[in-house]
């Protein structure tokens, strides 16, 4: 893949940020800055191109191949551009038991793209991901950095409608378990200690 050589450097005007990232690690640990620098690029550009890989390699005094090796190891870095809304569907067991496979089929149908693809207009991309740690509120969709939990059919349709309009709805935060005050079994009241959160908010 050939890239134009006159790309504006990403970190040129971010020297202060780069210095701050490097300062988090000891001198012998300069390479530790690779992951935070990759995150910074991806946050702005939605993926990490080869030219950014070369820039990072230069900053941490290593080769582009080494940085590429790190980039390609981790599943949440992207080597190709993703959509404005990167829809990640958790497919692991607890989500599958709550309909993740059916939700995936629905999203494929609705968005016209499959796992790993980005829509032609760059609005949506779809990725099947492994457990994102929201098993108690399955099934879960992660759109960019935001979790949408207990996404039943209705919520999924509602979420898609909003995203199509270019809006990210506020997530309905749910935690289940001990924080589910309203459905708390009465038999457990005696376990509430003074100052305990139950019964508050």
């Amino acid at each position: 893949m050939s890239e134009p050589t006159d790309i504006t450097p990403f970190f040129a005007d971010k020297q202060e940020f780069v210095a701050e990232v490097l300062s988090r690690y000891p001198d012998e640990g300069r390479r530790s800055a690779i992951m935070p620098l990759l995150w910074e690029v991806q946050r702005t550009e939605l993926y990490v191109s080869d030219s950014r890989v070369r820039e990072i390699a230069e900053i941490v005094d290593t080769t582009a191949t080494e940085v590429k090796g790190v980039l390609s190891f981790y599943s949440t870095y992207h080597e190709q551009p993703v959509g404005k809304f990167h829809v990640q569907i958790c497919s692991t067991l607890s989500c599958a038991l709550a309909g993740a496979d059916e939700m995936y089929d629905f999203l494929v149908e609705e968005l016209g793209i499959v796992h790993g693809e980005t829509s032609a207009d760059g609005h949506f991309s779809l990725q099947k991901v492994e457990c994102v740690g929201s098993c108690g509120t399955a099934p879960v969709l992660q759109v960019n950095d935001t979790y949408y939990e207990r996404v039943g059919r209705g919520r999924c349709q509602h979420l898609l409608d909003a995203l199509r309009q270019g809006e990210m709805p506020a997530p309905w935060r749910e935690r289940g378990g001990d924080t589910e005050g309203a459905e708390k079994p009465a038999a457990l009241d005696h376990t509430a200690a003074p100052g305990d959160r139950r019964g508050e908010g």
Partner: protein
């Protein structure tokens, strides 16, 4: 308390949350609006344990207290925490590190996430105490990349704590100085393995390291390092606050204190429940989670890597502690219980688990890369596509047996053990699928309104 113990006799330990002596500690403020702020934390007794440790105790006394409490690592392996801390090489004036493993990735586990989102100061306080005990000079909090809200809130909490003098130079006026650097992962289950996590932190591909040397001798950047799970560290806060005897008064012979159990799958109230060690699966599943919403046939006791049990009284009534689970051929793991309904084809469920480990295999060693990464998922695909035979089931068992115990790190066994357990308890479902070309259970729509 109605039944006061007789003079000299040790009171019976608390092994049920129904025990009136039991109180929620670690999970007390999760779910409370604003609990992630320093003001809230301090007005609810926050940082008093750190103050006590730093101003009234020596580092050795802190380690002794943690040892006496019986606390064992909450990440899954269950190694005694105080003992682990005592392995750190003596201070030599050079850097030494504490690393908090917040790369929570075991399917069925989601306890650390809510601590970081709703009560990050509790974790910071635990890190301060642990660092003091081990003379750590600095620390890294490695949080999985997906937990963005937890990252933001914990990062903000670290800044609040620094401004208030709980982090940085001369904490609480003592000569102890210490700080926390947050480092975001990027989606790699293998980082739960502590040496892989250190490689990741060092800007390498997250492959595990050969042990020895153990991290306590040569870890991060070759310096002494201890890696602890989030809720191991939050447990320490309460041990220091309330004393080792309080912690030790809960649980069973080999498992002390409270633990955050998680429950998912078809039950009425999924979520995280803090319970004393030794509470039974039945208490968690029925009394707290409200019972199954579909007819169950099995449950996974402690995260996807722990071998499942069939839905039988003898297993439901087992105390959730390290020893009992080990004795019964499984593990306590992270305490992430997953209920599997009858209508879910067990081969399909295990394919889901196998696919996860296949995706997460780091590629370092051959048994895992080839066996877990390629052979197992393909054999499951063949069976599920209706193209398998009984010989394939035998081959699956043989492949699993050849991988187990032969891989570089525990990831491969984490995949193999649940596969073998499913073959042990639900062999007839494999046979049915292999013989008939279709699953015994036909339900194919699990998505609710």
């Amino acid at each position: 308390m109605s039944d006061q113990p007789t003079e000299g006799a040790k009171p019976a330990p608390i092994v049920s949350r129904h025990d009136p002596r039991y109180e929620v500690t670690m999970y007390r403020y999760v779910g409370v609006d604003g609990a992630h702020k320093l003001d809230f934390y301090r007005s609810h007794g926050g940082y008093e344990a750190a103050r006590k440790a730093l101003t009234e105790m020596t580092p050795a006394q802190v380690i002794d207290e943690v040892k006496a409490s019986g606390l064992r690592g909450r990440g899954g392996a269950g190694f005694p925490t105080g003992v682990k801390w005592s392995f750190m090489a003596p201070p030599d004036g050079k850097p030494r590190y504490l690393v908090c493993n917040a790369d929570e990735s075991e399917p069925g586990s989601f306890k650390d996430r809510y601590i970081m989102e709703d009560d990050p100061h509790q974790l910071i306080e635990g890190m301060i105490i642990a660092a003091y005990a081990m003379h750590a000079t600095s620390s890294f909090l490695y949080v999985r990349g997906e937990y963005y809200l937890g990252y933001e809130r914990t990062l903000a909490a670290i800044e609040e704590a620094r401004e208030a003098g709980f982090l940085g130079e001369n904490i609480l006026g003592t000569d102890f100085s210490f700080d926390i650097v947050m480092h975001r992962g990027a989606g790699a289950y293998i980082c739960g393995e502590e040496t892989a996590l250190m490689n990741s932190l060092e800007g390498l591909r997250a492959t595990p390291r050969l042990k020895p040397p153990f991290p306590a001798a040569a870890g991060m950047y070759g310096r002494p390092t201890t890696i602890n799970n989030v809720t191991t560290l939050t447990s320490v806060v309460h041990i220091i606050n309330k004393g080792a005897a309080w912690f030790e008064s809960m649980g069973t012979d080999d498992s002390k204190g409270t633990k955050l159990y998680q429950i998912s799958g078809p039950v009425k109230r999924t979520g995280v429940y803090e319970m004393p060690m030794g509470a039974s699966f039945r208490e968690l599943i029925y009394d707290f989670a409200g019972g199954p919403t579909m007819e169950p046939k099995a449950f996974i006791p402690g995260g996807s890597s722990t071998p499942m049990f069939p839905w039988e009284d003898r297993f439901l009534d087992m105390p959730m502690d390290y020893g009992t689970l080990a004795k019964n051929g499984s593990m306590l793991g992270t305490g992430g219980v997953i209920v599997i309904p009858r209508e879910k084809c067990i081969v399909n469920a295990l394919y889901n688990v196998v696919r996860f480990y296949s995706h997460e295999s780091c590629g370092k060693c051959t048994p895992c890369r080839e066996g877990v990464g390629h052979w197992l998922p393909r054999m499951y695909q063949k069976l599920l596509a209706g193209q398998g035979s009984l010989a394939d089931v035998e081959l699956l068992e043989s492949v699993a047996g050849n991988i187990r115990g032969n891989a570089f790190c525990p990831l491969a066994d984490a995949c193999i053990m649940p596969v073998q357990a499913s073959l042990k308890w639900f062999h007839e479902e494999y046979e049915y699928l292999a013989t008939n070309g279709k699953s015994k259970y036909a339900k194919n729509d699990w998505w609710q309104a």
